[in-house]
Amino acid sequence: MNMRNLFLFALVAALYVGTGFFQSWNLALNILNLGLLSAIMALGVNMQWGYAGLFNTGIMGFAALGGLAVVLVAAPPEPEGWAAGGWGIMTGLAFGIAVIVAATQVYQRMRKGAARNLALLAVITIGFFAYRALFDPSVAAVESVNPATAGNIGGLGLPSILSWPLGGVLAALAAWAIGKVSLGLRSDYLAIATLGIAEIVIIVLKNEDWLARGVKNMIGLPRPWPVPYEVDLQQSAGFLEWAASYGFDPVSASTIVVKILYAMLFAVVLLAVIWLSERALNSPWGRMMRSIRDNEVAAAAMGKDVTRRHLQVFVIGSAVVGFAGAMMTSMDGQLTPGTYNPLRFTFLIWVMVIVGGSGNNWGAVLGGLLIGWLWLIVESVGPGVMSVVTSAMSEGALKSHLIDSAAHMRLLTLGVILLVVLRFSPRGLIPEK
């Protein structure tokens, strides 16, 4: 780390501290938590793009799978729902996987030709209808159990923090499957494929109500250990005493303590991820990855298994994103599939990676913290800019029109700042060495 980078980090730190002083510490910490989560996701993306040149725009999907893990692990069980068709659904899914395996077997074992195509078609068609016949009734049964408040199979009721690694695992599994299919695609073609797959993940989450209630949302997911609820703190005698001893007001003390606890949890994960990826990057493994990124043909001729390595880094990066996605959902305390939109969960992360400087882990972290801050702060800054602009104007239709449009300054301001930052450092704030 050189002076310039330290300075940049100091600058970002100053932004947060400034928010704390001039706005409120609650807001600053709230943004910080989001910034930390985004930084972790940005690290995941940076592994894929910065190290290996994989243009993954499916971040949203992996983050959502992480969120799903929280539901599966931590949501209270729904024994009724499960009894109504839980096993049926599992059987159906297992059968579905069996059909896919059978189809790939047919494809691999049989000779190319009409016979193979016919066999394939038969397996898939019969398989599909059989699968629907197995799966649909159970789904209907589960979803009809108390649909307004449940209608799903429920979770395991385990501590929420366990869902983080599971989020990573779910995302990794999905990434493996996706990678197997689509990593042969190049650059923007891979991008649109992964973008589409992420949309598919969200569509499934939205429509498979038995899984996590779909668009009806899962709310009230428990917090991860060791984060307490503010209301509980506010009622705990010990805490009240502690707060009083420092002269804090119990409400703000409790809200701040909770946020600091989250921040610490996230920071630990972030540091671990940075440590692992820095070590990996500055090693023969990282060198191999960069060689693949620079020139796949030559890397293959030099004995590097490009496909396998692509898959490896795709899975790892996605797992990191899934991990962060689980962390985010468990902090929010709810899974709302409608929240997942590509702008926020995919392209914003990309902005972080690029503005930070792709190929550089510290860049990704810086980008995550900076853009995360921006994204949330423009909500109040944008309209503020508008009021400054309009303050000089005379009363009239135009002025009132502009004041009404103030909310749209949010994204406009974000865009302008983004362009300014990129102008100031076209290769990212902390470019790859």
Partner: protein, 374 residues
């Protein structure tokens, strides 16, 4: 004593076209109270807007965080969409002990959410509307319906309850499928609905979103010519956009046989926004209720005023309509009980949500004509 109200709605994002009217509506109530000079011994009420984005829970919580910890608001009017509303409630309102009244979060799930008594809504839970819709349809002799709903908790919850209630009454639901708002094209949805057939197409969506697109495409292709419009679909803009094709279509919106709605319409028109835009009445009521509750509690502190919301909203007491907020404050100061009726005839029940009485209307000659109330 002065009060400050935070208005958190999705000014950008998928609902950006209805939220300005909702905010203006809430501000109208706030201004009315403030200008009356009778709020808590001459206090003024100010408001501050924040953007919930409707879909981005993190942005919404950060914005709410700002309202509470930076702006120091005493109450939150919002949020709009159920998803972010739940998030703001759990992550900001409850921890900080700030009361919130949402004008439009209608998900049934919110009824059971843990809220420490902080959360109210001036719109009915979707579960209730379904009953009414089914009743009206059967009364009109409809045998089969197709349902297209906007794919969120509102649409899904509503369509499920409509379908269940209608089938319970012996009707047939030929199709019950979702449409995503803000998409480019709805041909596939309409094709499927047309194939399914049915006497009436129930469109549980939003008037300026996919719902409109579905109706437009259905009329264009001749798939359906009668539609049922639940609350989200009620709006003059629909008639303007579709024209005479809409004649004969009917539906429901929350409301009672009160003059409140008409009064509100006058006020809104005077203030320069469209009173028929979705959830404007609810927004006015939400803001009015929290201020009246503060007055009744003689405190702007959330933990005090939330205990009074039900009192001012419900009978017994003198009925209060839009435009009478000053009068209401006088009554409260005098210790007289009030029953806030407002623009949408709010009656809060059980968990602090609107009871949901509904106005039934038919589109006749390019206008919404009230048929009756249920």
């Amino acid at each position: 004593e002065d009060a400050k109200i935070g208005i958190i709605l999705g000014f950008t994002g998928p609902l950006e076209s209805i939220t300005p009217s909702m905010a203006a509506s809430a501000e109208l109530a706030i201004k009315e109270v403030s200008d009356s000079g009778k709020f808590m011994g001459g206090g003024t009420v100010t408001s501050v807007r924040a953007d919930s984005t409707c879909i981005d829970a993190s942005a919404a919580t950060a914005a709410a965080e700002r309202l509470i910890t930076v702006e120091g608001v005493n109450a939150i009017m919002g949020a709009d969409c159920s998803g972010v509303t739940g998030s703001v409630l759990q992550n900001v309102a409850r921890p900080n002990g700030i009361g919130m009244i949402s004008p439009s979060a209608t998900s049934p799930g919110l009824s059971d959410a843990e809220d420490d008594g902080l959360f109210f809504r001036t719109s009915p839970s979707d579960a209730r509307q379904g009953e009414v819709v089914a009743e009206i349809l059967t009364d009109r002799g409809v045998k089969s319906i197709a349902v297209s709903y906007t794919n969120n908790d509102y649409g899904k919850g509503l369509s499920d309850s409509i379908a269940a209630a209608f089938e319970a009454k012996g009707g047939k639901v030929t199709a019950n499928t979702a449409h995503e708002d803000g998409k480019a094209d709805y041909s596939a949805e309409v094709a499927t609905l047309a194939s399914a057939g049915g006497d009436v197409l129930v469109v549980a969506g939003y008037v300026d979103q996919g719902g409109k697109g579905i109706i437009q495409a259905s009329l264009d292709t001749g798939a359906f010519d009668t539609f049922y419009l639940p609350d989200g679909m009620y709006g003059e803009s629909l008639i303007e956009a579709i024209g005479s094709g809409l004649d004969g279509t009917y539906g429901t919106i929350p409301g009672t046989d009160s003059e409140g709605a008409a009064k509100f319409a006058e006020l809104a028109t005077a203030a320069g926004f469209d009173p028929t835009s979705s959830f404007t009445g609810e927004s006015y009521d939400a803001a009015a209720l929290m201020l009246l509750a503060m007055a009744a509690a003689k405190s702007t502190d959330s933990k005090d005023w939330i205990t009074k919301v039900m009192d001012v909203a419900n009978a017994p007491g003198e009925k209060i309509e839009p435009g009478q907020l000053g009068h209401a404050l006088e009554l409260i100061a005098a210790g007289t009980d009030i029953d806030y009726v407002g623009a949408t005839a709010v009656e809060l029940i059980g968990n602090g949500e609107s009871a949901g009485s509904f106005r039934e209307f038919t589109v006749t000659d390019g206008a919404f004509v009230t048929d009756g109330f249920r």
